[in-house]
Every structure is written in C-alpha cells, then in structure tokens.
C-alpha cells in the first residue's frame, strides 16, 4: 500500500451568501499517484483546491499531510508544508528572467544581495533534475506558453513541495506540449510526487491518472480506480442529473433564420484556436441551446456575436445584415440583445441605481431621449413597467443595484435586454448562481418571448436541465467545433449529451443535419 501524502477529510465550505460549495468531501492522494479531480464548472473543484492551498478557509473538515494534521493559513504556508499549485492563469512576472521568476520569494545570496548566478544555477539544476528544460536567462515574456508552464512547475518543485495541484494544465497547450507535459508528470510520479490533475478532458485523464474523484454540486459522486476507468462511467458521474424537472412546452413554429453564424474562427493572443470554423443559425421563434464543457468555445461565440470580441475569420449576420466592422452599439441596433455570463462585470454597474442600469442601452434611442436630454417621463414609465412585469423586488428604482439579491439583479438585466426592441437574444448562463424562483421566471419568459413574440434565442448554458428543457434544437460544442446537433429533444438524455460533450462520440456532418 502506497503512503498517503494528503488526506482531506469531511471538508465543508459555505460561502458568505449561503452557497454551499463543498459538502463533506473526503479526498486522498498517495505517494507516486496522479489523481484526477473531475466535475463540471461550479461542482466545487476550485473551492476544494483553494482550501488546500490556503486561499479559502472551510467551516468543517481536516487536512492531513503525511499523516499529520495541518492547518494551512495562506499560500506561503501551503508551500512550506509541501503543497504547490500551478494556476490556470500563470502567476509569472513578464519582464523578469526565467531564473528570477523561479526563485522569487526564496532568492539566494548573502544578506540582501541577490546572487543571480546562483539563481541561474539553481534553476539549471532543478530543470536537470525534474527534466523540465528551460533557458534560465530568457525573459518570461518571450517564451512560449508551454515553457511558461514548465517555469510554473519549477517554481513549485524548487520549493520542495510533494503535492502538486495542476488546475486545467492542458487547456492552454498545443497537443505537442500536452504530450511533453505528460512525460514530465509521469517522471514526477516515478519520483514519488503526488499530483492532483484537474481537467475536463477524459482521454487525458484516462491516459495519465491512476485514480479519479468526481464532484457534482459540491459533493463527491464517485471514486474510480484506473482499472475501472472508462469514458462511460466517468461521464455518467460527471454530468448525471440530480433532479429531473420538465416543463410544458408548446410546439415551436420556427420562421426565417435571423441570426447567421458562418465559418467563424477565433484565434486568441497566444495563437490558440478557440473557435474553429463554426457555422449555425437561429430561426425566429425558436430557442437554440448550446451545451458543452466550459472552455470549448461557447463564451467566445457569444462574445463574437455581440461584438465584444473580434473574430479572426468568418461572418455573423443579424436580421440579414453583416456585423463585420460594426461596433457594439450598431450591432445592438440591428436587433440583438445580450445577457452576459459575467453579471457583475458586464451586466451592470454596481454602484448605480436600478434606473440607471435599466437605461444604459437606451441613451441613444429616440424613444427615450429628447435632444441632448434623457426623456425622464418615458424612462420613468419604462422602469416602472419593467419592475412590474419582471417582478423586481426593490424599495425604489433609485437605490443602487448592488443592494439587490443576485436573482433580482439578473431580473433587471433580463428586463433591459428583453424589452430593448431586439428580436434576437444571446442568453449566456442566464440562471447561473441564482435562486430557483428567479430561474424559473427567466425560463418562462424565454418561452413566452419566443412563442408569442417570435424572438430567436441562443441559449448557452452549462446547466443541462436548462438546455434540455428549453431548447427546440440543441448544439453541443467541443474543442471549438460543433460536435453534435439534436433536433428532437425527446431523444436526448444526459448520458448521450455527456458522451458528446466529453468527446467520446462525434457526429458526422450528415448526422448533424441542417444547422440553418
């Protein structure tokens, strides 16, 4: 029996707003083991790792390192006790050299003098020892992403950690770099390190990991050994639904294709193709859902359509007009509304009133303006109507929006976007993190507006219940491409979706059918 390096026992974490992120989680990592931590976004993986790394504290539970109970106060403490973490977004200083980044915080040298030569030597030695080849003198801003990750690994290893947390390490790498990383991780495993590997990619997990713990809704839903691991088992544990709820749905009577996405490709700043030649359309009067594991290009699609992001290739047209070269305001005028996934960053201005937040998109709209002035009367009436129709619970429309609950803030945003005069709505995670009541209200509204007013809705969600219940047509995105389309929602179940989302199955173009 291998030695137990780390044990987290009975971890429970409740956030300030009452959200239970972790519930009684027990999790162990042995010496010389690569242990996968799997789960959808919001399943509690990140919170659990934050607790382990000292970034969050937990209400209940204990952490044992090498069999000894450990209290981890902060990241420095975690590192000192032998836990290192490689963040998804690298924590590197661009204008410093590789060696300087590696030794930052534990600089060698007598007294206050920084001994650069020793730093370079330390880096070289470590890079030799752990088979992570880097040039210690290169500036970090000039090296590739793959090398940056090696620097991050070195940073942790040189501090003598025995447990390494890797948060989606392959998300930013090219296939070649991924293969290289795996060789390195296997070397570390042979040397007795314990590695926690967080990933959405099942093929990677099956190739690399010795065991896997799966979380869903803050609870452990399974523990699988390498021998028992297969895609079907894992995907069932990851995406299985807890509560199956269904909604009454009227038949869709789809009209013309009003939103057309054609051959859209997006390459980000570091040269990774996040959206790969995607084409689809949304017809008036239908809800098209996009499901997929987070980070497979759904967000980029929504930002490209709404104009927040500029595509590398391809075209988007709204109500028959191409959006190339238009700014956000002009795109909105073509008839597009947008419920952003990041409510507090994009959706509202926290310190401003409900009134101001509702009026933000109408400041150039003749209906609500009188020359250089805002038309107070029209706007007052509009705000009143919104509060009534969308059941926004507030004392006064003049109170700052930050005083509302998350659900009510979302209602304000939904109210503004639904009534903006647009006929196409991009709803990105419209019910994430809000109460059940508001969620079902938003669902009802989405239905109502598509059926009665002929809206076209593109619904992007990681909540499978939501997309399955609401969509008339369901697309699944994987690796920046559309992996599947389901037109008959009765034939869809979560297992099937999971298989496509996680890349176990793939549809051919004929199977996918007409994407409009």
């Amino acid at each position: 029996m291998a030695k137990e390096l780390l044990k987290m026992e009975g971890i429970t974490k409740i956030y300030g707003n009452g959200f239970m992120a972790n519930k009684d989680i027990t999790f162990t990592v042995n010496e010389g083991e690569i242990h996968a931590l799997l789960g959808e976004n919001g399943a509690g993986k990140t919170t659990l790792m934050k607790i382990l790394f000292g970034l969050e504290n937990c209400q209940q539970g204990k952490i044992y390192l090498n069999g000894q109970e450990a209290h981890i106060e902060n990241p420095l403490d975690a590192i000192a006790k032998g836990v290192g973490m490689v963040h998804q977004h690298f924590m590197l200083v661009p204008n410093l050299s590789v060696a300087e980044n590696v030794v930052l915080g534990i600089e060698p040298g007598p007294g206050q003098i920084f001994d650069k030569k020793t730093a370079v030597r330390m880096t070289e030695e470590a890079s030799e020892k752990f088979q992570l080849k880097v040039d210690p003198n290169a500036l970090v801003r000039d090296i590739s992403v793959g090398l940056k990750q090696k620097v991050e690994l070195l940073k942790a290893l040189i501090r003598g950690v025995k447990v390494l947390i890797l948060d989606e390490p392959t998300a930013v790498l090219t296939p070649q770099e991924v293969r290289e990383l795996f060789v390195q991780l296997k070397t570390l495993r042979e040397n007795g390190y314990g590695i926690i590997f967080i990933s959405h990619k099942l093929d990677e997990v099956m190739e690399l990991c010795d065991s896997a713990t799966i979380l869903r809704h803050g609870r452990v839903t399974g523990f699988v050994k390498k021998e028992e691991m297969n895609e079907i088992v894992l995907s069932k544990l990851i995406v299985g639904r807890d509560v199956v709820s269904t909604m009454e749905k009227k038949e869709s009577t789809a009209g013309d294709t009003v939103l057309k996405v054609r051959n859209v490709t997006y390459v980000d700043d570091i040269g990774k193709k996040l959206v790969d030649d995607v084409s689809f359309g949304v017809r008036a009067g239908e809800i098209v859902g996009i499901a997929g594991v987070e980070g497979n290009g759904q967000n980029e699609i929504s930002e490209i359509i709404t104009g927040l992001l500029h595509m590398t290739k391809g075209t988007v047209s709204i109500n028959g007009k191409e959006t190339t070269g238009l700014n956000i305001s002009q795109i909105r005028k073509l008839g597009l509304a947008h419920i952003s996934e990041d409510r507090m960053t994009y959706g509202c201005a926290q310190d401003m009133s409900i009134y101001d937040n509702l009026s933000s998109i109408y400041l150039d709209n003749p209906k609500f303006t009188k020359g250089v002035f805002v038309n107070q009367k029209a706007l007052n009436q509009y705000v009143k109507d919104c509060i009534e129709e969308f059941e926004i619970a507030c004392d006064s429309e003049k109170s700052p929006i930050r005083m509302l609950s998350g659900g009510n803030i979302q209602k304000v945003i939904v109210a503004r976007e639904f009534t903006s005069g647009a006929n196409i709505i991009i709803a990105n995670q419209p019910t994430r993190g809000i109460d059940v009541g508001t969620a079902s209200l938003i669902h009802r509204l989405l239905q109502k507006y598509t059926r009665e007013k002929g809206f076209a809705v593109l619904l992007i969600s990681s909540d499978l219940n939501e997309v399955m219940n609401l969509s008339d047509r369901l697309l699944i995105m994987r690796d920046g491409k559309i992996a599947a389309q389901f037109t008959d929602m009765k034939k869809v179940n979560d297992e099937l979706m999971g298989e496509y989302m996680l890349g176990i199955k793939k549809m051919t173009e004929e199977e996918r059918g007409d994407l409009h």
Partner: protein, 318 residues
C-alpha cells in the same frame, strides 16, 4: 563665446541637474514598483527645511541631513498609511500632501523665525561644502566642469549606481520589480505588495530628501518658500520618459539641466525670458508624447509578431 563661458555654462547645467537627478531616481524606484510618485515635491520641501533647522541647532551637517531624511520618511509613511491602510486614492493623497507641505513648511518657518519668505539671517545653518576632485580638477576644461561641485552633486552620481544596484542586484529590488509588473504573482509566492510599495516609497523619499537638501543646504544655505518650484514633477516626467531606468532617468535629468541652463544664460540676451522658462516643460511634454507613441507602436508590433508566430507554430503542430 569664450571657452570659459562654455565651461561655466556646463558647470551650471550640472548644478541645475542635481536636484532633478535625485527626483528622477526617486521616481524610478516608485515606478519600478508600479506606482507614480507624485509626492516628491512634499518630500523635498519638508526635508529642505528640517535639514536647515537641525543643522543650525546641532551645528553638525550629518545630523542635519539625517534629520531631513527622517522628516521625509515620516511624511511618506503617513502617505502610505493613508493610501494602503485607509485606502485613500494614492494620487489624490499625494496631491493633497504637496499642498499641505507647501503650507506646512511656510508655517514652520513662520513659527520659528517670524519670516514667511526665507530663513536667511535667522538660522546659522550649515552647507555641504564644494569638493575639488583630485586629478580631475587639473584636467583642462573637464576639470572646470566636473570638479568643484557641491558634495550633494557627487552624492547624486553615486546614487545612480546605488539605485541601479538596489533595483537590479538585490533581493528587495527583484521583489519591487515583481510587484510592479504582476502583484498577484508576487503575492502567490508570499510577497506582500503593500509592504513592498511602502518600502519602495520610503527609499524613494530618502533619495528625494537629498535633492531637497541640495536646494537648502548645498546650492543655497537657507530655506526659501516653495523652493522646489515643480522640480519634483520634472524629475517624475524624466523617470516616466526613461521607462524607469536609473541611468536613463539620470541622463534625462542632465538633459533637462542643460535645457534649464540654456534658459538661464539666454535670459541675458533674449527678452522673452518667460518663453524660455516654459521651454523645459514644452520639451518634456513633447518628449513624453513622442516616446510614448514609439513605445506603443513597438509593443503593438511585437504583439502582432508574437501572435503570428504562435499561430504558425500551432498550425504546424496540428
């Protein structure tokens, strides 16, 4: 124009450059830590008067200088407390502090001497002596330009090296640069950014204080109200233009010194003295715009190149 004339001109330029050099170095440290030091004027003013008072009382130059330095550090600690503990906007507080120190120094002077313009005749304050440098002083021309300056001037040249050494050769310097570029990365390895900001500001204030004391205890031997006259901001601009490089900032300070000396000397011949006084500031603004434009274009170019290279590498892999 005689040779002697040119010699005195360049001598003046070096003298004028001295306080600007101190401020430029002080701003360099702050900029390396990612913050603009707007409070250099306060740091200079308070140390200028404190140095005068304490050197007069103790009749010891070193005590005077140390006291001046301490006063500058004290108000900087106050600034850091306001900005990093009480969370007042750093720049707002710096501006308020500048106004406050302009008033405070006048008030202190008034309380102690009854005079509001300068301390001449009230304080027998000490002055840093001028120093003749052996060997160099005997070299023709160069000797006349570089030798015989005030001690503070030579100290400033030493400071260029000291600042360079601190930033690029010490552990602290490494941490300052790390915090300046990516505070989160520094935090993730246990470095506290607020602490680093405070340390870098305290060091900056010590250097700025020397510039302040050059004015009241080197070039002059008295404190005159508002005697810094915007030099703190010129130094700040020099550091910004030089991209926070210690040597570059110091060289730019000399350029400004020459520009200022030109102004001084031309005043004798040209009646538009005020226009000439505006020249250093016009030059600074124009330089700021031109260099920022070049820097922006370069970084855009690099970005495009890197993206193209990454895309190519990616496609080759696939």
């Amino acid at each position: 124009m005689s040779l002697e004339y040119i010699e005195t001109f360049l001598f003046t330029a070096v003298r004028i450059a001295t306080p600007i050099m101190y401020v430029a170095l002080c701003s360099t440290i702050a900029l390396q830590g990612g913050l603009t030091n707007m409070a250099a004027e306060s740091m200079m003013l308070i140390s200028a008067i404190t140095g005068v008072i304490f050197s007069a009382i103790s009749q010891n130059l070193l005590i005077g200088i140390l006291a001046g330095m301490m006063s500058s550090i004290l108000i900087t600690l106050f600034l850091c407390f306001a900005a990093f503990v009480m969370k007042v906007d750093l720049y707002l507080m710096s501006i308020a502090l500048n106004t406050a120190m302009s008033g405070a120094t006048i008030y202190i002077m008034y309380v102690l001497t009854g005079n509001k313009a300068n301390t001449a005749g009230y304080f027998a304050s000490l002055q840093m002596p001028n120093i003749q440098i052996p060997i160099i002083k005997d070299i023709p021309i160069i000797g006349n330009i570089l030798s015989g300056h005030n001690g503070f001037t030579y100290l400033a040249i030493i400071m260029i090296f000291v600042v360079w050494f601190i930033i690029f050769r010490t552990k602290l310097g490494l941490r300052i640069r790390a915090v300046g570029q990516n505070p989160q990365a520094a935090e993730s390895v246990g470095i506290n950014p607020s602490k680093i900001y405070t340390i870098s500001f305290v060091m900056a204030s010590a250097i700025a204080s020397l510039g302040g004391m050059f004015l009241s205890m080197g070039y002059q031997n008295m404190f005159i109200r508002d005697m810094t006259g915007g030099k703190g901001f010129i130094g700040m601009a020099a550091a910004t233009i030089a991209g926070a490089s210690p040597v570059g900032s110091a060289l730019l300070a000399v350029v400004f010194g020459v520009a200022d000396a030109v102004t001084h000397y031309s005043k004798l011949y040209i009646t538009d003295a005020q226009f000439l006084s505006a020249m250093p500031y016009i030059i600074t603004t124009v330089l700021l715009f031109i260099l920022s434009y070049i820097r922006l274009k370069n970084s855009e170019h690099d970005m495009r190149k890197r993206k193209a290279a990454a895309l190519k590498a990616h496609e080759e892999n696939v």
